[in-house]
Amino acid sequence: MTDLLIIPIIKMLVIFGVCLFFVAYTTWIERKALGHFQLRYGPMRVGYHGLLQPLADAVKNFFKEEVVPDNADRAVFLMAPVISISFAVMLLAVIPFGPAMTIFGKRIDLYLANPSIGILFILGLATIGSYGTILGGWSSGNKYGYMGGLRASAMIISYELSLAFAVLSIIMVTGSFSLVDMVAAQQHFWDWNIFREPVAFLVFMISGIAELNRTPFDMPEAESELCCGYNIEYSSMKFSLFFLAEYTHLFVFASLVTTLFLGGWHGPVLPGLVWFFVKTFAVIFVCIWIRATIPRLRYDKVMKLEWKFLLPVALANVIATGVVVALLG
C-alpha cells in the first residue's frame, strides 16, 4: 500500500512543487542574469533583490482580465495553454534527480518513474506539448499568431529529427532507453557523454534551444517581427500557463542535458541532488547567456541549418557511433 500509492503520491507532489518552484525562479534568474548582462539590475522591488517577483507576477496574472478574441476558435484557444503546460509538467516524471535515499528505513528513488523507454517518453511528450504552441497560434484568429503557429509547426517537425538522432547515439553508447541507466553509466568524470559524444552534445544543445523557441531560434514568438507570435492574443493566466510551460521546458531541457551528457547527479563531495541542480542551472545560464548575446536567425536560414547541416551531422554521428560500438563490442 505505502509503496504502491502513498510514496508515489508524496513524490509526485514534492517533484511537482519543487520543480515548479525552480521553474518560477528560472524566470527570476533569467531576468536577473539578462539584467546584469545588460548593465541593469533586473527585478529589485519585490522582496530582497526581487526574490518575490515570480509570486508577484503570478498574483498579478490571476487578477488580469481574460480576453478571448471574437474571431478566435474558442474551444481550441482555451485548450492550447492547458496542453502546453500539462505535457510540460508530465516530463518531470521520468527525470532522475539524485541517487536513492533512505528515509525512515525505506529506500526512496529520486524519480517518480523509471520506464524502460524513458527517453522516448520525453521525446514523445515534448512533441505533443508543442501542439499547444501550434494550436494557440492558429486558433487565436490573428495573423501574427497564425504565422507564429506556422513557424512553430515547421520548426518542431524539423528540429525533432536532429534532437532524436543526437539522443539515439547516446542510447547506442549506453545500451538503454532508461534515463536512470544513462546516469548510472556516467559515474566517472571521463565517462560523461559530453566527452564520449561531443558532436551529439552540440547537436542536442542547438536543436534543444530551437525546440525551446529561444533566441537565436525564437521564430514562433519573434518579438520584433511577430510581436510575440503565437501567444499574442493570450492574456491573464492563459498567458501565464504558456509562459510557465516554456520555462518548464527550459528546465526539463537543462535537466536532460545534465542527465544525458553531464553525468546526471554524479559529482564529488556534494550530495547528488545538489550536483543535479548545479549542473541544470549551469545549462540554463548558458541558454540565458546565448539569449543575451546572439541575434536572431531568419526563419528560412533556421530551416536550412537544420536540414542541410544539423541533420546530416547527427546522422553521420549516429553511423560513426554505431561503427565504434559494434567494433568495441
Partner: protein
Amino acid sequence: MSESKTVTLNMGPHHPATHGVLRVVLELDGETIVNATPVIGYLHRGIEKICESRTYQQILPLTDRLDYSAASANNLGYCVAVEKLLGIEVPKRAQYLRVIMAEFARIMGHHLWLGTHALDIGAMTVIFYAFRDREMIMAMNEEIAGYRLTPSFIRIGGVAYEATDDFIAKVRKFVAWFPKALEGYHQLLTDNKIWTTRTMNIGKISAEEAINHGLTGPSLRGSGVAYDVRKAFPYSSYGDFDFKIPIGENGDVYDRYLVRMEEFKQSIAIIAQAIENLPSGPVMTDNPLVASPSQPEVQTDISALIRRFMVNAKGTPVPSGELYSAVEGAKGELGFYLVGDGSEQPYRLKIRSSCFYLASALPRLLVGHMVADAIAIIGSLDVVLGEIDR
C-alpha cells in the same frame, strides 16, 4: 494548378519594430513580401502650420521635436536658415559649440538606431550598451543646456549659454572613452555570423536608384555616393574640421550599418577637434534685432530693457525673401525652406525631411524579401516618425 493567394498583413502603427508609428501594409505570399505600402501620418502635429503663427524664436523648440533622437541637429538647421535670411554672422566660438552639439546629436541618433536595429534583429543587449553612452551625452546636454533630450541649445544668432568648464571636461572625458565603447559594439555585431547573414545582401539599392528615390545621409552613402551636406555645402565652420565621409559598396543593410558605425568615429573626431580648438569670444551675435541684452545692461539702461521686451515678446522681424538651407541631420539632408514676409512670423516654413524620402523607398526595398528582412530594412533606413509626420 491552384492559384496561390496572398495575405495582407498590417504591420504597425503599433508594432515593436516599426520605430514609432510607421504603418506598413504588407502583402505576403507565404512569408515573402509581394507588395508593401507605407502609411504615415499617425504622429502629425502640424508643426509647419503652427510655425506660421509663432515668432522665429518660438519655432526653435518645435524643431527639437522633428527628429527627437537627434534634436540639436534640427536646431542647427533651422537657425542656419533663419540667419541666412537675416544676413547675420555667428561668432566663431558659437559655431564650434554648435558643431559639438550637432555631432553629439548625430551620435545620439545613431545610438538609438544601433540599439533598436540590433534589437529588431534579435541582439537584445546592444541597446543597453548604446544607451549607457547615450546617457553620458544626455548628461552633457543637461550640463550645458539644462535639457537632456531636447536641448534647444542652439539659438538664432548663436548659442544659449557659454560652455561651462564642467561641460568641457565632460566632453574631453567622453571623447577619450567613446572609442572603447565603439569597439564593444563592433565586437557584439560586426563579425557575428548571424548578424552578417541577416544583413548582407538584404535591402540592396544601387547608387542611381538611391539618388532617384531621394535618399540622403547614411542610407545614400551606404550605396557608395559620397554626398554629405557638411562637405558639399559646409555650414557652421564644418570646413575647419578634418573628417572623412564613410561610404559603402553594396548598398545593403550591412553597408548602411558599417557607414553609421564609421560615422560614430568621424563624429567623435570632429568633437575632439572642436573642443581642443575652441576659439574664445562671445557665443551670441551682437545684432540688436536678435540678441537679448545682458542682465546688467537691462538693469541699468531703460533702452536695453525695452529692447529685451521687443526681442523676447514681439520677436525678430525677418526681411522678405525665401531660401532653402540644408544641414546634415543624423538621418540625411534636413532642409528648411523659409519664406519671410517682413514680419516676426515666417510666411511659410517647409521642412524637407530626409526620413520621408527614406520611408518612400520602402516599397522598392521590401518587395521580394521576407517579413524578418522587412524589420532589418526598416531598421537600417533609420526612419524617425517625428520627422516624417511633423
